[in-house]
Subunit: 155 residues, 2 copies
Amino acid sequence: MTVTQHAVPELEETTDHCASAERPHPRPDGQDRYTISEVAAHTGLSVHTLRWYERIGLMPHIDRSHTGQRRYRNTDLEWLTFVNKLRLTGMAVADMVRYADLVRQGDHTYPERRALLAATRQGVLRRIGELHDALTVLDFKIALYSDAPKAQERH
Amino acid sequence: MTVTQHAVPELEETTDHCASAERPHPRPDGQDRYTISEVAAHTGLSVHTLRWYERIGLMPHIDRSHTGQRRYRNTDLEWLTFVNKLRLTGMAVADMVRYADLVRQGDHTYPERRALLAATRQGVLRRIGELHDALTVLDFKIALYSDAPKAQERH
DNA sequence: GGCTTGCCTGGAGTGCACTCCAACTCTTTA
DNA sequence: TAAAGAGTTGGAGTGCACTCCAGGCAAGCC
């Protein structure tokens, strides 16, 4: 449960200027120039986190508008979706940066990328095992508390 | 932490220096007076963490030797084993402290303990789902890197 | 022109879960 | 008797992954 949370997706500006940016969902290639807050709404990451990801090298180069504002593309959205999956696996951010580096370096890094993902996969399997294990204990305890509310036991 | 030691001079010295501290495994009740480093070896937690757990109220009262050193019992080992399981579920330490509190308060807290564990259980199930999800993506990517080492794709 | 909104930056701050430190006591071994 | 080794404490430090802040810029609206 330590996966962090952030804000609610809530409906932001249903009040005034309704015809404005009310679309966290992808647009077809060619019209895909999302502001940072659109991307935040779409990915569930905060704008802080998006900028931080860029700073630490977890993002490819992001286009800018003529005033210097970020304009994300569909490929950036896809990358972030994948990053989110990696995050869910519990992969350390440093490892994700390493992976992003490998992607930047080109196709000859396929084996190393594959190895990185395979190691992550192993970790996920181990974690699932641990969780199943913990689940058994939880079920046992819960049954104790449910079935014998007056029984004598310790914790 | 001003509880200090009282009573319980008992037979502690029988287990102190007889066998060198090379026994991370439980002994029968009655001879169960483990030093902190024995408990660390048994549980996989560091001695720092064991003392910290005590400070924050995650442990019941731990007996002391006549010189003020901790002497853990089998029940303490069992509790730590359970705590480790809760840790594996991803439960926050603050919640574990809350649970420990409920245990201290007595049997009338059964319903709340049960609720806490049930919520944790839900979290574990959700987490397992996420991990399975991530596994699918990982397998897809790994297959890409394995089967088509020269294929044209992005990340 | 003034106000609001959204975005920009580098750097500082936060919360969690440890992890370590200095200075001490006590016991055992050389 | 001296040194080593394991334990004690309160408090400070660490690493991670964000999260926020101050100060500023650009655009839209009344």
